[in-house]
């Protein structure tokens, strides 16, 4: 019984992690049809921002929840101005340019901070569930991701910002009709996406360790989750992470973590073969 509960918790953890690392990419893809291949490095920058901030005596929670997203959002604004803006509508070119950015950021951080593993310990101790123990921080991550998704939903559904965003998703001219330049909407979107990525990076840092190349471990997963999910930001992210996360965990439990990852990738291929426009390209169309 305890074992079933713990497997279930592990599945939920995997799903939450996938959703967390994909959300920033999904926002940018869903709104702008831009695939940001520097997403993994945004995660990495968030993690380093948190480490550097705690190193300078900033409270751990403030570093993770405030410093990391804000600093990466600033990076996002700069990147949007210098690169993304010049390539709107050219999806492949944007992918290639952000890929270049990804390499450049890895190189830059390696030069400045060195190519060494760092990290910090997870706060919040552990809790007992029957005869099993689990890290309190993982539980926190699950709850936090749920809250984050809810906040994104509320913002999109009920605020003027969300209205403009949804309008722009449907038709870029809509924003213009509302008296807002589409370029402003895109800039804000990119910054929000970057902030979400930075936040995610800081939050996974205590579990995964931090190194300049850490982004490469996540970009493929996030990329695959977002494309498998399709264009709808929330519904896509949640459905794809749910499916892929569950497959991954079951694979890991029944066989090995490597087979779990392979199962995740294989599931994504099968899904895309069956639903070439992603899950929300077929189901839940027009949802958020």
């Amino acid at each position: 019984m305890d074992l079933a509960l713990i497997v279930l918790l592990q599945i939920v953890t995997s799903i939450a992690m996938l959703a967390l690392i994909s959300l920033g990419l999904a926002v940018i893809f869903g709104m702008m049809r831009v695939i940001n291949l520097a997403h993994g490095e945004f995660l990495m920058l968030g993690a380093y921002a948190a480490i550097l901030a705690t190193g300078h005596g900033v409270n751990l929670w403030v570093s993770m929840l405030l410093v990391a997203p804000v600093s990466v959002a600033i990076v996002g604004v700069v990147v949007e101005r210098l690169i993304i803006r010049r390539l709107y509508g050219r999806m492949i070119d944007t992918m290639l340019a952000t890929w270049g950015l990804s390499l450049a950021l890895i190189g830059l951080v390696t030069m400045i901070l060195g190519n060494t593993n760092t990290g910090f310990s997870a706060p919040l101790g552990s809790i007992a569930i029957g005869g099993f123990r689990m890290s309190g921080y993982e539980l926190f991550l699950i709850l936090f991701t749920a809250v984050l998704l809810a906040v994104v939903f509320v913002v999109f559904r009920f605020t003027r910002l969300g209205l403009i965003a949804r309008g722009t998703m449907q038709n870029p001219d809509m924003a213009a009709a509302l008296g807002i330049a589409p370029s402003t909407v895109y800039a804000v979107t990119f910054a929000v996406g970057a902030a979400l990525s930075g936040l995610a990076g800081a939050l996974i840092a205590p579990l995964a360790g931090v190194v300049p190349t850490m982004g490469t471990a996540y970009i493929a997963k996030a990329f695959i989750t977002v494309i498998t999910g399709g264009a709808a930001i929330l519904a896509g992210t949640i459905s794809a992470s749910g499916l892929l996360g569950a497959v991954n965990t079951l694979g890991s439990f029944l066989a090995t973590p490597v087979l779990g990852e392979v199962a995740l990738l294989a599931a994504a291929i099968v899904l895309l073969r069956l639903l070439p426009r992603g899950i929300t390209g077929r189901f839940l169309k027009g949802s958020l």
Binding site: M17, G119, S126, R133, S135, L207
Partner: protein, 413 residues
């Protein structure tokens, strides 16, 4: 002319046995050079830098000490360091470079067994002497290489009975998924079974795995008495973090043949690391006069930049270089075969890690082994075993009888 050279090389290649390719070697020039070139190939960056950086520091220190004392054969030793960035293919590139461009007298380096196996055939093909100074899984039988770190018959054989006696008989093995982890796990199984224990499960992880969540749950379900970690590299440090975050470090004790080799005890907080048991041929905390004197010199020289030396790898690199230097002195030359023969005469070296004796038949070493426990980010030595022979490799390899042998034996279970 061309044909002649080729057929000659071909014949010699066949004579040499399983050498992979004939070689074109522009040799002979170094003997006249006024410096002796030594190449060190260790990861200064990437996931394995936690091991590489202290090794680079001790190798550099050993060379400086030697040069300060007048060098070798009246010449200064020039050390060339390459950083393969934890990338196996860069190892092959740098090994080729060391042999064919630098024409190094000796190459010291390689951290993982994978990197050793990548360099070994190249250095043998290009006839360049190779020293591998890392604790490893044993069994390499090749006259061109000297493996001076401890092997399973020296560390696993002591650690497994010790912890089984202390904690219980049911063992769960976690290993890095490459030849080191795979082979060492076999040795662990062998010794656990011999001690009437039981290996509940063995799991293998590629070096880039950072998510150990499912594994930690599986271990909890299996309820072992001991978790034996043969995990390697920076990414795998996440295991210890996640293990502690789940509160498991209070529930099931950990033992490891690798923990400490990369100063993992310093990366983790005391709450996370305390209580882990490890076995190595050296710990910086060893309380011997030779070690104390060394640390004093080392710190005087490097000051704040002196890295923590942790367990074995960095110190055996220091020993390894000095043993090679002893060989050169005895041979009176840096010629590969002359030095090899000198070393095969049973050279020994007394250093901070005690006495290291080269075993002529296997090119491995007899050395002291210690079991220690992590306390407050440092190792506390619990037991010491003097002069342990490399029995694992000795059982299968005899280079004085079969000098052309070139393979790695794997324990048969």
């Amino acid at each position: 002319m061309q044909f002649d050279r080729r057929s000659l090389l071909r014949t010699s290649a066949i004579a040499m046995g399983a050498v992979a390719a004939p070689a074109i070697i522009h040799r002979g020039a170094w003997a006249q050079e006024d410096v002796i070139k030594v190449v060190g190939i260790h990861d200064a960056s990437g996931g394995l830098d936690i091991y590489g950086q202290p090794m680079i520091a001790t190798l550099g220190f050993a060379v400086e000490e030697l040069n300060a004392a007048g060098g070798l054969l009246g010449k200064q030793v020039e050390l060339i360091n390459y950083d393969p960035q934890s990338n196996i293919q860069l190892y092959t590139q740098f090994a080729t470079q060391a042999a064919t461009r630098d024409r190094a007298a000796v190459v010291h380096g390689g951290i993982t067994s994978a990197s050793r196996e990548a360099m070994r055939p190249i250095l043998k093909r290009f006839q360049t002497l190779y020293f591998y100074n890392t604790q490893y899984e044993g069994g390499v039988c090749d006259r061109n290489i000297f493996c001076l770190g401890s092997g399973p018959a020296q560390n696993v054989t002591k650690l497994v009975p010790y912890v089984m006696n202390k904690w219980g008989k049911k063992v769960y093995v976690l290993a890095a998924d490459y030849n080191y982890g795979q082979i060492t796990a076999k040795w662990v199984k062998k010794y656990v079974t011999e001690g009437d224990g039981e290996v509940l499960a063995d799991e293998y992880f590629p070096l880039d795995v950072t998510d150990f969540g499912p594994t930690i749950r599986k271990i909890q379900a299996a309820k072992p008495d001991i978790v034996m970690s043969l995990l390697v590299g920076g990414a795998h440090v996440s295991f210890y973090r996640q293990w502690a975050a789940a509160g498991m470090n209070k529930e099931i004790p950990l033992a490891s043949t690798t923990f400490g080799g990369g100063n993992e005890n310093k990366l983790l907080s005391p709450e996370e690391g305390d209580g882990i048991h490890a076995a190595f041929a050296y710990f910086q905390e060893l309380d011997t006069p030779a070690n104390k004197a060394f640390l004093e010199r080392f710190h005087a020289k490097l000051g704040d930049k002196a890295p923590y030396l942790g367990a074995e790898l960095a110190m055996m690199t220091y020993h390894g270089f000095n043993i090679w230097a002893e060989g050169v002195k005895k041979a009176g030359s840096v010629d590969r075969m002359a030095v090899t023969e000198a070393l095969e005469s049973g050279i020994s070296y007394q250093g901070p890690a005690g006495t290291t004796v080269v075993d002529p038949k296997t090119h491995h070493a007899t050395l002291d082994v210690h079991i220690a426990e992590v306390k407050d980010q440092a190792f506390e030595v619990l037991e010491s075993y003097a002069q342990q022979p490399p029995a694992d490799t000795q059982a299968v390899c005899d280079l004085s009888a079969n000098p052309n042998e070139n393979k790695q034996y794997v324990v048969g279970i």
